[in-house]
């Protein structure tokens, strides 16, 4: 069976038993966690999935998500399930790059950290955030946007979007969306306006850093851009994608449709939680997405 790997961004909600599920296959996750603690942040070893104690720490959440995704990718590839194609949702791009051999595990940790700090610098002291609106179309949301302080940055489905920008404007927009007839309009617990054009200076800084400090390789399987659905096959595509991923909106539905159009029907959500399974499950088409808790149907346990 030919599979495609899809990589979530940082995970808002864990299943709660991810380390246990991964330990059915190998002991790689605790090893990767220790390795990451030595490389980037010693506090990572205090991660507790039951209490999700890093939920309010965006950088650590991203790092933990990356470690989970890399660990699962390693397991799948070791078990003879190499993907033919892959795509990373938003910050899931870094794990996709690791999985495809484009960057080293260590590099991914550093790039995530540098990108985060560059985004922090770019926004200064202002209060920013993101919100989710379900039940309104792109145009209906666009009509409610007050000005350029808010942007529609994630297209997850025909009536499912994420908005990014100034926190105060976002608060008003979510109220307006609810009054307009959205089925749901809720804030996300992040403090950065991910994918907003105001992060342009962060993107430029990241581009310099990527060119000067990192060895980026041609991926050993093609990746699909979650920004515009392009196939990323070369080193230059990869650098460009990492840079644009900072300050450009993403269209996950288009990216997923591209993979379907290429004939892929089996997708493994390579990470913790089941965010992408939840987003994709109602897309039209004949396909299956396997989140971690359904992988026992595909993998061999270590016993």
């Amino acid at each position: 069976m030919e599979t495609a790997f899809i990589f979530p961004a940082f995970v808002p909600e864990y299943l709660g038993n991810e380390p246990e599920l991964l330990s059915n296959y190998t002991d790689i996750f605790p090893k990767r966690l220790l390795e990451a603690a030595e490389i980037i942040d010693s506090g990572l070893v205090d991660f507790d999935i039951e209490t999700n104690n890093f939920a309010s720490d965006e950088l650590r959440s991203q790092l933990i998500s990356y470690i989970f995704s890399c660990s699962l990718s390693d397991i799948l590839i070791q078990q003879g399930q190499p993907p033919k194609l892959g795509a990373g949702y938003s910050m899931g791009l870094y794990a996709a790059l690791y999985s495809s051999g484009s960057i080293a595990f260590e590099s991914g940790l550093h790039i995530i950290s540098q990108a985060y700090h560059q985004m922090k610098t770019a926004i200064g002291d202002g209060a920013y955030g993101m919100g989710s609106i379900i039940g309104l179309t792109h145009q209906e949301i666009k009509d409610l946007l007050p000005d350029h302080s808010l942007e529609i940055v994630n297209h997850n489905g025909r009536v499912s979007y994420l908005i990014s920008g100034k926190k105060e404007s976002l608060h008003h927009l979510l109220k307006d969306a609810q009054a307009e007839g959205a089925l749901s309009a809720t804030p996300l617990y992040v403090s950065l306006p991910y994918h907003h054009h105001m992060l342009k200076t962060a993107a430029e800084s990241l581009e310099r850093v990527l060119n000067e400090q990192y060895s980026i390789q041609t991926p050993n399987y093609p990746l699909v851009s979650c920004i515009d659905g392009r196939i990323l096959e070369h080193k230059t595509d990869i650098i460009k994608e990492m840079v644009r991923n900072i300050d450009h909106p993403i269209n996950w539905q288009h990216c997923f449709q591209q993979m379907l159009d290429m004939g892929h029907t089996h997708f493994i959500e390579c990470g913790a939680g089941k965010t992408l399974y939840n987003i994709c499950r109602f897309y039209p088409g004949n396909f299956k997405v396997y989140p971690l808790n359904r992988l026992h149907k595909l993998l061999l346990t270590k016993d």
Partner: protein
């Protein structure tokens, strides 16, 4: 607008229960009228949206999604039983659901 009889009532109930059993990976016997959609079943807004689309197709309705959104702001749904009742109201009243006064 449609007429809700016992057959439709039973069909809506069965569809809702089977949908949540499959999507939330829960035994259908463990789902009750009082089960809360988010806390007990782990449901979310996307599931609500998918269910609306299932019933819209099944009962050939042309309902404005925003009307349902506005109705659910005034009449929030927390439990499976409330969700079944809301779907029945949508089938019965279509876009006029917004004019209903629910106690």
């Amino acid at each position: 607008m449609g007429i809700v009889n016992d057959t439709i009532r039973e069909d809506v109930k069965r569809t809702v229960y089977e949908f949540f059993a499959e999507e939330c990976e829960i035994d259908i016997e463990d789902i009750h009228e009082e089960s809360t959609i988010i806390e007990d079943l782990g449901g979310d807004s996307l599931m609500f949206l998918a269910l609306i689309e299932i019933f819209t197709k099944k009962y050939n309705q042309n309902i404005d999604l925003k009307t349902i959104g506005k109705f659910s702001v005034k009449n929030p749904v927390r439990t499976i039983g409330e969700l079944v009742e809301m779907q029945l109201l949508i089938i019965e009243h279509g876009n006029q659901i917004i004019d209903l006064q629910i106690n």
